[in-house]
Amino acid sequence: MRYRAPRLLLPASLNPGGANQGSEGQSSSLLPKYEKKHFYIILGLRGASPLSALILSIFLHAITLTVLILLLTPSYKNLTHKFITVRIFSENIAQEQTSTNTLAFPSPGGGSGGNSNEFSRVVKAPDSPGLTRREDKGISPGGLVEGLSKFYYKEVPYRDIVEEALHAIKAKKRVERIARLRAEIRKTHNQETRIPPIETSTEAQRLEPVLEQRSTYEVIVENIIASNWSYPEVAKKGLSASVLVSVQKDGSIKIIEFKSSGDRLFDYSVKNALLKSSPLPRPPEAVEIEMRFSE
């Protein structure tokens, strides 16, 4: 006997199908409420069989995968052997820093005494994307590395691209050399600085293939802030504070969130470390840094 699926949309009691009446009537008397509730929930599956359900799911999976592939890999779309796309970190990489100390920091309440909580105020930078990124649904093609948009859809002669790439690499090396020299100078003020050799990122990757690959900028920032952080020897130990900052394109530091250590002197030392380090070298792109200071 050909199997006939139950009529999912209609309540069993109204099923006009005569052949199965008896058994459906039977089953409806056994589990009437269960059937009715679930039959109403599943819409648009009139006459669905297990097979059609499977086909539907495979179809949906295929659509999802296609959409995902399209969304996640836009950069390989225009790849042909005639033109190359070059990933450039920043159009401004050649410029020197000229900005003065521009740390945007929530200023402590003036007046005598001050509050004990003045360093733990949460400040949302006006254009900050917020602390969580759950709103982002993947990478939007337009918002990727900024310089990329220049080359994304245009066809540019091969020679110009290579020249541009060489120029960018030279400028990047220059910035790194400056940062390295600065770190050297700071080293003489601080006996406890640990400065790893600052090399180009590819070399660093070659030397540390197993460990996490930290970008050059990360290492530079860490060294600068570490060299500016001091705390009295006899002061309270075992403390820890966390800061979330956003570094603007000009290197200025904006505090987004400050989690106090519970000790005023320790918080003060952390705040001073940030003030002395601002402005940082210009980042490849506007970046957020989460820092943990612990003694």
Partner: protein
């Protein structure tokens, strides 16, 4: 069968839909790798105190004579805490009278600048303190103080306290005083001085022997033990509110005052039968209640800051060691296990540790030990060092040392650093009073 079939098909649909929904959800929730977040972990800050530029200026000729003194008191107070360091005046780029400009101070690596102006008029001093944060480039506060010129040192300690408190949110002991037993005309007498050793004064009390002074905090009562010519032991109290003295107990047998419990009861060690035991003395009724005793010697009872326990010395194990008990006298626990002669226990203000005196290679040294069972730490190692006493904020220890040939009052930081003498003449049994 029909039921099973229905359920199976339901399950199929649920499964396929659910899987798809889960897939999409997972994809959405995978954190994106756009504009990256950098994580930085920093430990081991450079050990360096806050660098301060202190400028004191006289507003008028009358004030000029006091500039040096007030500056020295403030500097000594702040620097001795170990949290501050003073920039040398000859390095200053900005005159004291000029208004604060952070660019004059950041080349010196300064963190704090304090500008104090003094005015003296008809026996009164008026001081205006302006405090600045160099790294922020802003003013922190402005405060005005007035007082009698004879109390200039007190004023300086108050100013130093305000600066200290601003950066640490804690109370320093700058205004505290230290009382100790000294010598006068071959007999014992009681002295009081500032925490830095200045303004030494002698109380008009003289006795053959004065030992074990104990202070009752806010009550401003002092109890001490004396031995009179006939050999009897006498306990006396001084009420610092009225500056009157009272005789509260006497005995032919060895008696020594311990800590105050309240204005009417004192822990004492007393010899009833053949050795010293711990008692609570009721002052009003001159009654004794036995607390801890037995065949062994129990002395030197000190009450915990939360008033729930006490420390004392007992030789019940065969040698003098430090023990702890409830104020009820029960739950006796031995605390010291290193060394064969450990005495003189003293609580830390937060109740987490205690000081004691242990004999090492024939000399008495001061140790600190946490109550959590960790190892004791030796704080002194030159000469004999005894009678330690924590400052109210727990960051300093006053003690007596004979390292220079005679017993003197010394002070050091809680970690044993910064040891230096406070008295020139004989001194013993220092206690902190306010």
């Amino acid at each position: 069968m029909k039921i099973v079939q229905k359920i199976c098909s339901l399950l199929f649909v649920f499964y396929s839909l659910g899987l798809w929904v889960a897939e999409v959800t997972v994809v959405i929730l995978i954190p994106s790798e756009s504009a990256g977040r950098i994580y930085i972990d920093l430990t081991s800050p450079a050990p360096r105190p806050l660098l301060m530029g202190l400028q004191v200026m006289a507003d008028g000729i009358d004030a000029e004579g006091y500039v040096h003194q007030i500056k020295k008191v403030i500097q000594d107070d702040l620097v001795y805490t170990g949290l501050f360091s003073m920039i040398e005046e000859r390095l200053f780029l900005e005159p004291a009278q000029s208004s604060f400009n952070p660019q004059n101070w950041s080349p010196l690596n300064a963190d704090v600048v304090a500008k104090l102006s003094l005015q003296v008029l008809q026996g009164n001093v008026r001081a205006v303190l302006n405090l600045y944060d160099v790294n922020e480039g802003t003013q922190i506060f402005k405060k005005e103080y007035t007082g009698d010129i004879n109390f200039l040192r007190t004023l300086a300690h108050v100013i130093a306290r305000d600066i200290y408190k601003r950066f640490t949110d804690k109370d320093p002991p700058f205004e505290a005083k230290i009382l100790y037993v000294g010598e006068h005309d071959g007999k014992s007498s009681i002295y009081i001085m500032d925490w830095d050793g200045a303004r030494l004064r002698r109380l008009g009390i003289v006795a053959e022997t004065i030992i074990s002074p104990k202070w009752a905090g806010e009550l401003r009562l002092l109890v001490y033990t004396t031995r009179e010519r006939d050999g009897s032991w006498v306990l006396k109290t001084i009420d610092f509110n009225t500056m009157t003295q009272k005789r509260i107990f006497e005995s032919k047998r060895l008696t020594m005052a311990g800590d105050w419990i309240d204005k009417n009861s004192i822990l004492i060690s007393y010899t009833e039968s053949d050795n010293q035991d711990l008692y609570i003395l009721d002052i009003e009724g001159t009654k004794l209640k036995k607390l801890i005793g037995g065949y062994a010697i129990e002395i030197d009872p000190v009450l915990s800051p939360d008033r729930r326990s006490l420390l004392f010395v007992s030789d019940r194990s065969g040698s003098p060691q430090v023990y702890m008990a409830d104020i009820s006298g029960y739950n006796i626990k031995r605390l010291t296990f290193q060394g064969g002669y450990n005495t003189s226990p003293r609580w830390s203000p937060d109740g987490s540790s205690f000081l004691y005196v242990g004999n090492v290679n024939g000399k008495n040294q001061i140790f600190i030990q946490k109550l959590d069972g960790s190892e004791p730490v030796q704080l002194t190692n030159t000469g004999n060092n005894e009678e330690p006493a924590f400052s109210p904020d727990g960051r300093f220890i006053a003690f007596a040392s004979d390292r220079d040939g005679q017993w003197r009052i010394y002070i050091m930081r809680f970690d044993g650093s910064g040891q230096r003498p406070l008295t020139e003449g004989y001194g013993f049994s220092p206690i902190w009073i306010k």
